[in-house]
Amino acid sequence: MPVTDQELEKFNEKAWQLRKDIVDITFWSGGSHIGGAMSMVEILILLYYKYLNIDPNNPDMEERDRMLLSKGHGGVGLAALLARKGYFDFELLKDFNKFKSPFGMHLDSLKVKGVDASTGSLGHGLPMSVGLALGARVQNKNWLTYCILGDGECNEGTIWEAAMAASHFKITNLITFVDRNRLMIDGPTEEVMGLEPFADKWKAFGFIVKEVDGHSYTELAEAVEYARKEEKGPVVIIANTIKGKGVDFMEDDVRWHYGGLDTDLVEKAKASIDQMHGNPAGSKG
């Protein structure tokens, strides 16, 4: 078992917290890319609480693993997580998106500690990740690079240019995730611009593909463990997820790609999150 029961319990609590934080920040800021932030919660939690070799007190540590959120609009989720990890004070996120705040919707790596690359324009994260992985290899460093892509983002040519390069250069120190929530802005991925057969595309570009339930820590962790050992070529983990996961009225609804919440909806959203996670910290939330 790659994940112990104790870990599962801890992850569940962290995910519960993160989902509620995303709701709060969305409320404070007036709006956020909440749907795509919710779908990748389990991926983030697993990476930041199990796998990433990082030190929030030393964010620029040279030997740290790198994590690039290529779907940069999920910054609201990453920012909340980095705050809870101790990179900066969570209270600062009350100013998320506000005038002069270091936190825009898409995080700026020069302003926000713990962010390894400024992203937000889609299709940039994987090329930069390939560069980081090559950089580590050339210098005989052991750190790994992780990269999270959106599925709609995989419409971009640069993703496939980078994929071609990753397998050509036989990169094995890069682990790529696709948050396969099947929605983009204008509609379902398969209606706007079909990606299927998606796994076959990655295979044709030389990747080893692991398809998992993106909300299952066990499945995600098995895939990560596999990818960390794989020496033959780059691995992509296609994480099947639900956009808006945890908030019943947002789940799988394209209208919640970006949205705002009033106090009423905040309460409803939190009740739904409590239900999903079993309110691990007791009644107050």
């Binding site: 800021s29 940069g72 998106n97 506000k98 005038f99 002069k100 705040s101 270091p102 936190f103 825009g104 919707m105 898409h106 995080l107 700026d108 400024s118 992203t119 937000g120 324009s121 889609l122 299709g123 709609g152 983002e153 419409n155 971009e156 040519g157 983009m184 802005i185 204008d186 706007v192 611009m193």
Partner: protein, 336 residues
């Protein structure tokens, strides 16, 4: 050309620039079956989705693939269609830009681009979604026409005029929270011709896009409070620039300030500076814009104030320029 523009299909009081654009394009689509629409997973946000709803067979959403989109648009134009293409300015003027230059401009194709969320209008999204470089970039492409409408009504005028204006046209608009300046569309809009929205003899404010309203307000204030006679030009077309309007501003007022929601390098200010420099005449001159930095996070109105693009900021700049020294020489002849 401006007479009889009786095509009002929108309510400028309640609709955003992009919504008006969407409506206008629908109207034009009814009249001209050659018009096709394209977007890259931003049909809803850019409001070209209105055209999609009406003409689903003449609309192509290529997914999040801007380079491909501009290439496809070039192909459609070569096949005799008139593509109207919309995504955010940042993904037009940067991600898809080589296709815009080499496929569309180099081949001088009849393709119209309406880029939304330009300047700092999507302020809270941060620099990846700001676009304070597009005027500089687009202006440097041969064959390209570059327009920055002041508000929704002018957007309607520009989009309408683009149809009869051959070759590639780039129109940059905001995110949708821009206040309106014009009350109706019959004020003589013509591509390449500045609109003098106020006459004056002491100083000329030359602006485009959202800053037109601010310049007009600043001028009014300065006239009432400082006793200054301030000329205001709405330079909606950055290329081809109305050089005659700039030259008369030099001659008549000898002081010019340009104001734009764009980097001070390469945009409207630079275009005006070229004309002033080439004239060989003395002129006090300041460019107001984003001072060659990545603009900070905030709501557009806060950023407008922060970067002194609003009426207050402009008033301060005018007072500065009025104190500036330049050759006090009434004899222009010896300067040419």
């Amino acid at each position: 050309m401006t007479e009889g523009l009786t095509y009002t299909v929108y309510d400028a009081d309640t609709m955003t620039q992009a919504e008006i654009y969407g409506e206008m394009l629908c109207k034009m689509g009814e009249e001209n079956p050659k018009i096709v629409g394209l977007s890259a997973d931003l049909a809803k946000s850019t409001k070209i989705g209105k055209f999609q709803e009406k003409f689903p067979d003449r609309f192509f959403n290529v997914g999040i693939a801007e380079q491909n989109m501009f290439g496809v648009a070039a192909g459609l134009a070569k096949a005799g269609m008139i593509p109207y293409v919309s995504t955010m300015a940042a993904f037009t003027a940067m991600r898809g830009v080589e296709q815009v230059r080499t496929d569309i401009c180099y081949q001088n194709l009849n393709c119209k681009i309406i880029a939304t969320h330009a300047g700092t209008s999507f302020g809270s999204a941060g620099s990846t979604h700001h676009c304070t470089e597009d005027l500089a970039i687009m202006r440097s492409f041969a064959n390209m026409t570059v327009i920055a409408p002041a508000d929704g009504i002018e957007t309607a005028n520009a989009v309408r005029a683009s149809l009869d204006y051959p070759g590639p046209v780039y129109i940059r608009i905001g995110r949708g929270f821009e206040p309106k300046y014009y009350e109706d569309e019959n004020y003589g809009f013509q591509i390449g011709k500045a609109v003098e929205i106020k006459s004056g003899t002491d100083i000329t404010l030359i602006s485009c896009g959202v800053t037109v309203l601010q310049a007009a307000e600043a001028a009014k204030f300065l006239e009432e409070n400082d006793g200054l006679s301030v000329r205001v030009l709405n330079m909606h077309t950055i290329k081809p620039l109305d050089e005659a309007a700039v030259l008369s501003a030099v001659e008549d007022t000898r002081r010019i300030i340009t104001i734009e929601d764009h980097n001070i390098l390469g945009g409207l200010g630079s275009a005006v500076a070229d004309v002033i420099a080439a004239s060989g005449k003395g002129c006090a001159f300041i460019k107001v814009g984003i001072p060659d930095c990545f603009s900070i996070v905030g709501y557009p109105e806060d950023l407008c104030n922060y970067y002194q693009l609003d009426a207050d900021g402009i008033i301060g700049k005018v007072r500065e320029v009025m104190k500036m020294d330049f050759e006090e020489d009434e004899d222009w002849e010896d300067e040419v």
